[in-house]
Symmetry: C2
Subunit: 293 residues, 2 copies
Amino acid sequence: MSSPRDSSKRADRLVVLGGRDRPARPAGAVWLVGAGPGDPELLTIKALKALQRADVVVHDGLVSDEILDLAPQGGRRISVAKRKSRHSYAQGEINRMLVAFAQEGLNVVRLKGGDPFIFGRGGEELEACREAGVACHVVPGVTAALAAGASAGAPLTHRGSAQAVTFVTGHAADGEPNLDWESLAKANQTVVIYMGLSTAAAIAARLVQAGRSGSTPALIVVNASRADEHRVLTTLSDLGQAAEALSGPALLIVGEAMALANPLIPAKAGTQAASATNSTSEWAPTCVGVSGL
Amino acid sequence: MSSPRDSSKRADRLVVLGGRDRPARPAGAVWLVGAGPGDPELLTIKALKALQRADVVVHDGLVSDEILDLAPQGGRRISVAKRKSRHSYAQGEINRMLVAFAQEGLNVVRLKGGDPFIFGRGGEELEACREAGVACHVVPGVTAALAAGASAGAPLTHRGSAQAVTFVTGHAADGEPNLDWESLAKANQTVVIYMGLSTAAAIAARLVQAGRSGSTPALIVVNASRADEHRVLTTLSDLGQAAEALSGPALLIVGEAMALANPLIPAKAGTQAASATNSTSEWAPTCVGVSGL
C-alpha cells in the first residue's frame, strides 16, 4: 500500500487550502471551465488539463461528447442541461451539487459552453463556493461570439465601423428581453445577441424603432465552430424572417462590420464548406500535434 | 531526393486553393491567430497547431517568448510590436508583408495577443488578404477581458448586476477616446476598457459626468493571466489615481459585478499569489498533459 500522501498525489496538485498539517483526505475544488464554442480544438490547453484531472464533470447540454470524452474514463458525468420544456436542475441545485462534491474531496469540473463568465451564470456558482469555503478556480474560454466572427471572417471591432462591441442575451423568462435599446441602436458598434433566435423579430424591431438603420448588416450564426455551423447574412430589417427558418444554439450579430462576413454556408453543404475553415477533422485527442513537427 | 509532392507534404495539409492540378509550389495562406491573454496554457489547441505548422510568425509585442517558442525551430519570426515612441511597422506594411509571404507559398501565422477580432486590427489584415486573393483563416482566442474576469473571480455578466458587457478601447491617436459615454454610463452593465491605463482619469471623469455612480466598483488588471498579473480593486471615483501608479498592458473593468473580484494581488507578492490561480508553472510545452493521467 502506498502512503496517504502518495495515493492522493494527483489530487494534491490541485489543493489550494491546507498546508503542512494536511488532512488524510485532500480538499476538493471546483473548476469553472469554459469549453469554448464547440470545436474541441477551441478548448484551451488549460481547460483540457482541468478536464483530464476531473473526478466529476458537471456539464451543460451544449458541450459535445467529443469534449466530454477528454475527461478520465470511469469518472462521473452529470448533465444539467436546461431545456425549455423542463429544467433538469435549478441553479440552486447545481450550486449545492458542486459544493457537495468538492466537500467530498473531489475535483469537480463545471464545464460550460463558451466562457463561464459570459452568460454562463458562473458568477452564481463561484459565489456559492465562496460562501461554503470551497476553493473555486475559473478557466476562461473562447466565447461563441469570437468563434462566430472568426469563422465568418467578420471582425467584431473594426476601424471606422465598429469602435465597440456589446454582448447581450436575447433570452428572458417572459419572452422579450428588457435591454437598453437606445444604446444598442447607436451606429459604429457591434451588438452580439446570445440566445436570440426565438426573439429575433422583436429584437430587430426594437433596434429599428430606437434608430438603428434597417439596412445594418446582421449575421446569424448557428452552431458556431462546429462541423454543422450555419451562417446567414441578412439585414436588421430582414433578421426576424431569416431567423424563423433556423433552430439550434445561435448568435445574432448586428453591426456595420458584419458586411465583411463570408457568404453563407448553405445548410446542406454544411459539412464540406465548414471543413475548409474548421479543422475539427484534424483533431487528435491523445496528444496535441507534437509528433507532426 | 523526394518528389516535389513529398517535399511539400507539410504545407499540403493547409492548402485550401487548388485541386487536382496543384502547382509544384503549394499555395500559401495567412492564419490570423489569437494567442490569448499571455498564459501559454490559455492558447487554444487550434492556435497551438497553427503555430506548429508556421513557416513564418509575424507577432505583436505582447506575445511572450514562451508562446513564440512553440513555433518550429528555424522558422522566421518577425516582431511588428508597436511602441509609443516609434511604430516599427505601419498597418499597411504589415498587411503587405503577410500577403507577400503567403504569395511565396509560406504558411504565415499572424499572432496577436488575445483575439484577432477584438481590437486586434485583424479585420484590416483579412481584407488585405481577400483583396490579394490570399487564403486567410482566423483562429479565435481568449480575449484579455475573459482572462481578467476569470482570474479575479469577477463575472463580466451577472444576474441582477450586469445584464450586458461592452468592450471599448481607451487608446486614441489624440489622447482621449471619443466614446458614447452616455450609453457606457448606464448601470447594470460591465464596461471593459482595453488599453486604458494612460487615459483612466479622463475616462472615469467622463463616465461620472454622464451619470455613472462614482461608487461603481472598478477593477484594474495588469498582465492578465501572466505570472506577474497585478490587480487593483477600486471605485470609478478613484480609478484615475489608482491607475497612475501602474504600467504595462492593462484592462479597466467598470461595473457593479466587479464587487465580486478577489482582493488585490500586491505587486511584490505577485508571483507567489498568482501561481495559486494561474497554472503557468504546470506548463509542459512538448506534450499536453496526456502522460499525467
